[in-house]
Amino acid sequence: MNVVKNPEALSPKDYATDQEVRWCPGCGDYAILKAMQKTMAEMRAPPEKTVFVSGIGCSSRFPYYMATYGFHTIHGRAPAFATGIKLANPDLDVWVITGDGDGLSIGGNHLYHALRRNVDLQIILFNNEIYGLTKGQYSPTSRRGTKSPSTPAGSIDNPVGVGSFALGCGAGFVARSIDTTMKHLAEVFRRARGHHGTSFVEIYQNCIVYNDDVFDSFTNRKAAADMQLLLEHGKPLIYGKDRNRGIRMKLGSVGLEAVTIGENGVGEDDLVVHDERNRDLALLLASMQTPDMPVALGVLYCQPGPTYEVLAREQMDEAVAARPGANIEGLLRQGYTWTVQN
């Protein structure tokens, strides 16, 4: 269908299908799609080796718009399909697109096990803190008190911390970005793809219809600098319009705290230096809550480790090496046999 003529000169358009994009006008999903198409082109990702797998939700329509292979599956199960795909053909570059309902409500278990197993997938979760497709019910990431069709008096459960959950599941790569920050998003996609193992990316995505501006406190232009901590490996945790805010370890207790450089004797040296390999740090960064603390964006954690599909192939290769020439005839004759004569 999409015969790519010159793989050397791919453009974002080469990753766009001819299908009409059917999200609501103004939906944050558009920006993410655009960022993905652009990054794909920049990475020269071969479309024929790329598969987008999704569950069900507005976000999960994503594969229809990517001119790669795509599988729009059933609600919550995309990581399981993706695992089967990757195990069947480890050469494929497999992306999972999911939402906060798809991935964290019905699909929580599959997400958790994919992360634990470390299958080499990129799992991109569009978190809009709402069920978009089914018209606005609250989701596991909705804040307590969210009024929605199914919670007219306000929701009463605690939202899950997405990054904390992923780390708790054993994720080896956890990153965060925002729908509208094209450059940051692109970088995060690139890092996710580069990581061997399950890469988990949470994107704060605005649902203009059912949950408009729910991330406004840290995404609006004015607040951004003061409420976003853009992580860079090896760099101290500094943020703020004036680049004078930082994160350090609490004194006399366990935890992180936000401080102002130059106040109370705090210097840049007192700040925590970001270390993507430090899971403990990632746990603390993931738990930071606005408004006291900024939102940590970028790569919180990146710890490469053996990936599931590679280990599985190795076991198969070893078995083949150990029993060369294995064939069905031999298989059927394994163990005790006897001959009945004429």
Binding site: L87, M316, I328
Partner: protein, 621 residues
């Protein structure tokens, strides 16, 4: 009742057509090993046979309790066998609990071998006996061989200096020696096996061999109670060839591997452990060198989804479970129906509903297989009738799944999975291959373009340049495969999905009559593991002159093209099922034949006699 036999010339051996022997003892008594050795000896003696191992439901019950009894049953003879036997001719009970649990399986006049030494007060109490059954007359209607096996075994192995515990562990082999004598079996293969098994512990090997010989000698020297003689069971007329015994679990696993080979595909199993389906996972996990990938998923849903994913990526996706686990797969199977991907779903049925009786057998998931999904979502349903039949059915499942791009549900059950029968190893090289041809040509490619004859869509897998496309669960346009909400298109797609499955009826063998006349007074229609008892019952009654026939279905959906006509030829239709009447519903609705059910839902297979009786009741006599 213990023996005081005179040293007279040994009584002549009694000729038997067949015999059913059951070895029963504590989980730790090695009954499964004993049973398989005996099976091997029967096979070598040229008997036809069938076996059934019967494990306790508990993992490891306390010693000596009734719920810790493990048993192994074998039916062998000079005629056709096909079931593990209605009633026991001989019961070997290694302890009181085994006697308690198994005795009512023994026919009146049958032989029971007991280890007197184990009938201590403590063991009797554990087994729930108020009085010692060896003394209170409760065994009067049986012939009892009461021997202090424990003591005799210890004597036999004394010279090898084993601990008491290790010495006593030879009890089962001592007993095997005794039973070998009774059925005139050759000890040598067991001797060889013991030597190789305990190659690193020659003392244990030697002790066991000594025990085997001692048990044999004990019987030979005629220390048997009055009226008990040795037996002679002639070899059966068996097609020449190379044989092995095979369980349903193994035959199924091998059949899937063989089918994948014939299709030219790697095999992927996504599964989640559940009784009695786990053996397939275990066996396939050990066959990596055949290009098999197994994946123990987090649950049954992930298992089936991973298998569908694997099929999507160009493997043969298989998933397996038992009823409750299959229930969880329904939604995903619907996606495979919609996206038209090959998928094999193996259901090792067990007794339900819900958790039910996990270790007991039942055939009650036929409704679930044929009708158990939301929406109109027809799939292929096959059923295997016996352990070895699993091999062929598995290959047929692969053939249909790949040729028609469809899920195939393969029904087997707990009985078949664990039972074993002799199997003439097929000549695999003679099997016809059915290689899958993936689409590779971008020219004019449409992901839902169909083969005119089979109506199967093309299979185009990721990694193929130029065929990038998207599929999913939303209704697809008949031509382009794009999402389509169009009413006429939905009708057309529904119709073609149905026609594709219906059309498979043309590609499967016409239904044959297994035994009896095509227009007999009564036909017994069966499916799955009732094959053995129906076959034997009908055979016996035809022998007695009854006008009865047997039809056994392998293809449950779609049904063979000629089945309706065939059934109308009989005066009466009787359908024995280990459920409350599920195939009955299917056949009645399809052909409006007034089929009558013979239903047994006790977690136990049918006895031959139960089916015979039902036939007699209907045909008189």
């Amino acid at each position: 009742m213990s023996s005081a036999a005179l040293k007279e010339p040994p009584l002549p051996r009694q000729e038997l057509e067949s015999a059913v022997v059951r070895f029963a003892g504590d989980s730790g008594d090695g009954m499964q090993l004993t049973g398989s050795q005996f099976t091997q000896s029967a096979a070598l003696a040229g008997n036809d046979l069938a076996t059934f191992p019967d494990f306790p439901a508990e993992i490891r019950a306390p010693l000596g309790t009734t719920f810790g009894v493990s048993a192994f049953q074998i039916n062998f003879g000079s005629g056709e066998i096909k079931t593990s036997g209605d009633a026991l001719d001989m019961l070997v009970a290694m302890n009181p609990a085994a006697l308690k649990v198994e005795l009512n399986g023994l026919r009146a006049g049958g032989i029971v071998v007991v280890d007197q030494g184990s009938f201590t007060d403590r063991n009797l109490r554990k087994a729930g006996f108020d009085a010692n059954p060896l003394n209170d007359g409760s065994l009067d209607k049986y012939r009892v061989i009461e021997i202090d096996i424990s003591r005799l075994t210890m004597e036999a192995v004394a010279e090898f200096g084993l601990s008491k515990k290790d010495g006593l562990r030879c009890k089962n082999i001592w007993t095997l020696g005794l039973v070998y004598w009774m059925y005139e079996r050759d000890r040598q293969p067991t001797v060889d096996w013991l030597k190789s098994k305990f190659a690193k512990r020659p003392d244990i090997a030697d002790s066991n061999i000594a025990a085997l010989n001692a048990g044999h000698a004990f019987a030979e020297t005629a220390e048997l109670p009055e009226g008990v003689t040795g037996f002679h069971v002639r070899p059966a007329e068996i097609t020449p060839g190379l044989y092995r015994t095979v369980t349903g679990g193994h035959a199924l696993a091998w059949g899937l591997v063989a089918g994948a080979k014939l299709a030219g595909l790697p095999l992927f199993l996504g599964s989640y452990p559940i009784t009695p389906a786990s053996p397939l996972l275990h066996i396939l996990a050990g066959l990596k060198e055949y290009g098999v990938t197994t994946f123990q998923a987090e649950d049954e849903i992930a298992a089936v989804c991973s298998a569908i994913g694997a099929s999507y990526a160009g493997s043969l996706g298989v998933t397996s479970s038992s009823g409750p686990g299959i229930a969880l797969k329904g939604e995903a199977i619907g996606l495979a129906v919609g996206t038209e991907l090959p998928l094999i779903v193996v259901n090792s049925q067990r007794a339900g509903p819900s958790t039910g009786l996990p270790t007991k057998t039942e055939q009650s998931d036929l409704f679930q297989a044929v009708y158990g999904r939301n929406a109109d979502s027809p799939v292929v349903v096959l059923a295997s009738r016996s352990p070895s039949d699993c091999f062929d059915v598995a290959i047929e499942a692969v053939r249909l799944a790949t040729k028609y791009m469809t899920p195939v549900i393969l029904l087997t059950d707990g009985y078949i999975a664990n039972a074993a029968e002799p199997w003439r190893i097929p000549d695999f090289s003679a099997r016809e291959e059915f290689p899958v041809r993936f689409r590779t040509d971008p020219e004019g490619f449409q992901p839902f373009a169909r083969d005119e004859e089979t109506l199967a869509r093309v299979w185009a897998i990721p990694g193929t340049p130029g065929l990038e496309h998207r599929i999913g669960g939303i209704e697809r346009d008949y031509d382009t495969g794009h999402i389509s909400y169009d009413a006429a298109n939905h009708q057309r797609m529904t119709d073609v999905r149905r026609a594709k499955i219906d059309g498979i009826a043309k590609d499967i063998p016409l239904q044959e009559v297994d035994q009896g006349r095509a227009e007999a007074a009564l036909v017994v229609v069966g499916w799955g593991s009732t094959y053995g008892p129906i076959n034997r019952a009908v055979s016996h009654l035809i022998g007695e002159g009854y006008d009865v026939a047997h039809v056994h279905l392998r293809h449950i959906w779609p049904l063979p093209d000629n089945l309706g006509e065939l059934l109308k030829g009989f005066d009466r239709v009787l359908i024995p099922e280990m459920n409350t009447g599920q195939l009955s519903v299917v056949l009645r609705s399809q052909y409006l034949v007034d089929a009558e059910g013979l239903n047994k839902v006790s977690g136990q297979p049918f006895k031959i006699s139960e089916i015979e009786q039902a036939i007699r009741d209907r045909l008189g006599g």
